[in-house]
Amino acid sequence: MAQQQGFKPVADAAAFKQQFAKASQATQSIQCDFVQEKNLSMLSDKIVSKGKFWFRKENKVRMEYMQPSYYLLVMNGKDIKTKDGQKENRVSTKGNKLFEQINKITVDCVQGNVVNNTDFNTRILENGQFYLLEMTPVNKSLAQYFKTIQLLVDKKDYSVSKIQMYEAGGDDTSISFLHKQLNVNIPDAVFAVK
């Protein structure tokens, strides 16, 4: 993506980090729609999913998939609840290192803390419209699944517009965040995991 869309290394990385941190500090909550695209490179095909996304500080995330089938994921601190067409499941990331890392990546991505996540080496690029954070995992367990994770940050408001995860095997998954509403009141019940 970086080369295709004319991204080049950011001129002033420190200034970006400062602005990005400031914007994420001011973001108490995010409510939006999302479109997820799973690109199956060898099959020259993709699976598109759509749903709704909620985030509230410090570490509450709810993703509700509506298409092509229903799936709910709620992360609230160390607790995770999932629900599919048949079953509801609750797990704790406590003691599950990989789950904990994935949880942290998700929250860090939407919150913009990802530049400080030591699980990755991060390169910051930009074009006219976006900043691009290119994150390469430094630890083995993450590198087994991801080659890189790219974060597209809108220059307008420093909010994350797209997360693109490139798998070691050549496939990738992107999640685009649309119709973002920042700092709206989101009730506790949205993030209930019990």
């Binding site: 997820q36 799973k38 199956l40 060898m42 099959l43 095909d45 699976i47 598109v48 999913s49 993703m63 998939y65 298409q67 092509p68 089938s69 799936y71 994921l73 999932t82 599919d84 067409g85 048949q86 079953k87 499941n89 087994q144 699944y145 995860m165 798998e167 095997g169 496939d171 998954t173």
Partner: protein, 206 residues
């Protein structure tokens, strides 16, 4: 008297344990090729999928794609795009494992999944198959290394009731393909008989 009763019960138990679930089948006339019409015409088909294995529950999307070379790819990923496996079933009966989640990548797991999906794809070698029947159904019997695969239909072979993969004596896996639309089943259910390992698929619009 009591010990006689006990012995009789034991004998009945042993006999029933050893007897075949298919012992009442009779030879029948019929065309073994009639079952090929139930072969799912997967072109680019997506299923919402739940897997229960022992105490674990997985859910996600399972994607069948017919490739230009007529091979069929089967990819299973969770709702967030995290891939569990990517298999290829070649048109000449071959199999390629392109990817398996490292934690699940055990020979027995791959072999079981391959066998299960081969039943669903319904591409058996019918050269040694024959037809049998009981009072209700026709059974197209395809011999395998460890037993038989039974493709069970109504007597007119108009409706596929289920598929059973069996050992010498009893079914070990049962598969149901239901509500065909344009050659593609709307629901697919795979149930292992000896232990909890069930896969259920409901077709969704891509």
């Amino acid at each position: 008297m009591r010990s006689l009763l006990l012995n009789s019960l034991l004998l009945i138990g042993l006999l029933s344990g050893c007897s075949s679930a298919y012992k009442n089948l009779q030879q029948a006339n019929g065309d073994v090729n009639c079952i090929t019409k139930f072969r799912p015409q997967f072109a680019n088909t997506l299923y919402s999928t739940q897997v229960d294995i022992l105490k674990h529950h997985l859910s996600g999307l399972l994607f069948f794609k017919q490739m230009p070379d007529s091979n069929l790819r089967v990819v299973f990923a969770n709702e967030m795009g995290f891939k569990f496996f990517d298999f290829e079933f070649t048109r000449d009966g071959g199999f390629v494992k392109h990817y398996m989640l490292p934690k699940m990548d055990k020979k027995a797991v791959v072999k079981t999944l391959r066998g299960d999906f081969e039943l669903v794809l319904l591409r058996p070698d019918l050269s040694k198959a024959h037809v049998m029947q009981d009072s209700t159904y026709h059974y197209t019997v395809v011999p395998t290394a460890k037993g038989n695969n039974y493709y069970i239909t109504d007597t007119a072979c108009a409706q596929l009731e289920r598929i059973e993969k069996s050992s010498k004596r009893k079914p070990v896996v049962k598969v149901w393909l239901r509500n065909y639309e344009a050659g593609v089943p709307d629901t697919i259910s795979i149930r292992h008989q000896g232990f909890t390992f069930n896969i259920s698929l409901q077709r969704v619009q891509k």
